[in-house]
Symmetry: C2
Subunit: 253 residues, 2 copies
Amino acid sequence: MKEVVILGAGNVATHLFKAFQASAGAKVLQVYNRSEENLDFFRNQVAVTSNLKEIVAADFYILALSDDAIKEIVPLLPEQHGIVVHTSGAKGISTLSKFENYGVFYPLQSFSKSKEVDFHEIPICLEANSPTVLIRLKELASEISEKIYEVDSDQRKALHVAAVFANNFTNHMYSMAAEICARNGLQFEVLRPLIRETLAKAEVLPPPKAQTGPALRGDSETISAHLELLNKDEQEIYKLITSSIQKLHGKKL
Amino acid sequence: MKEVVILGAGNVATHLFKAFQASAGAKVLQVYNRSEENLDFFRNQVAVTSNLKEIVAADFYILALSDDAIKEIVPLLPEQHGIVVHTSGAKGISTLSKFENYGVFYPLQSFSKSKEVDFHEIPICLEANSPTVLIRLKELASEISEKIYEVDSDQRKALHVAAVFANNFTNHMYSMAAEICARNGLQFEVLRPLIRETLAKAEVLPPPKAQTGPALRGDSETISAHLELLNKDEQEIYKLITSSIQKLHGKKL
């Protein structure tokens, strides 16, 4: 049985905890968090502590913490026999170089407290300070996911930016669409089937091949009509993305 | 049986044709297209013509044409007893005011030639020049879809812009993410589960409530790190959308 200590009590920590406890070959022994109160969810299910000196011996120590908290905890955490990893997309592996065996265990997903996720579908991006550690991390990751990737620190940082475009910025496009609907007395609902189809196409085509719309067609009449309906901030974004689509696809108005 | 003539042979025409032919109470009598060769798909299934004088009598005439082609065909199309509609998101209803009974029959979806769609889920936005015509259009639309909305010309234009954000611009965010992946030796595949989750959240939450990421958190350290990995054009888009997210959510760096 692979024994795990989780440091952190936020969304990533909680979802990892549930996934390991549901796995066949891994088990969380203890959850640490700086503040006692955030440990309430875990208290009746597993040993908890808010004292770094009470951390128990385990095979893996997972720092499921914010980037700032990782920076703060590393100097305070005593050297461990097990493998120490963090779950951050943005932090390099060298953040943990004071330990003997260390790595990164980055689940590429946007976690919410209230929403359950199927961990089997979540890509886990691994990096390790040695081939042996990498093998052990792969074994641990395969307890909870079928999608395991080796991704070095530079690649992981790039992936983190790409994820901002694919997730955060996409969601903001939805927000802008919702705002345009709202001020014209339209329900955002009307757009949902279109949004679903956009995703369905991205599942089967490389995104540039799935591109449609007035920017791609070079339809300057429609583009002008659209700009008239937008406020100044929306216009700026509309123009910039339109020109970016046209650059990518080699069109010019 | 509601009898329909479709004018046009592109994606919208083709998908509408299939949906009506599969319906219980509507039937396409004829498909018109200016060029003979694009009629090949329809030829063995229904009467076709490339001569506007040969258009047969029907209850509905659907101009499933590009905005430019609508403009060209309207003066040439003889007055009809049936109801004449176009399927354009961008054109006003008044484009068809030379006819006695007219309206708009706008299916809000991005159609591809190669990809089948379930028309029952596609919102059809209707507008009519009279209450009687509206009732008839609702009857026709309900033959193929369960999602029927009354949307006036101004609203439809706004919806068309909103759709550009929700579909075209979202897809371009995927393209940009794919490009960042490609130049860092990463498969775009890795991002798919995240993209799916972004949509899944948008299905259950208003988009602003589903927003996450460094822009929302005001995490200027991550934002700076991200900008370093982007080229100049990408940086411009990253900065503008980041600042738009912060404006919407009342945060400032």
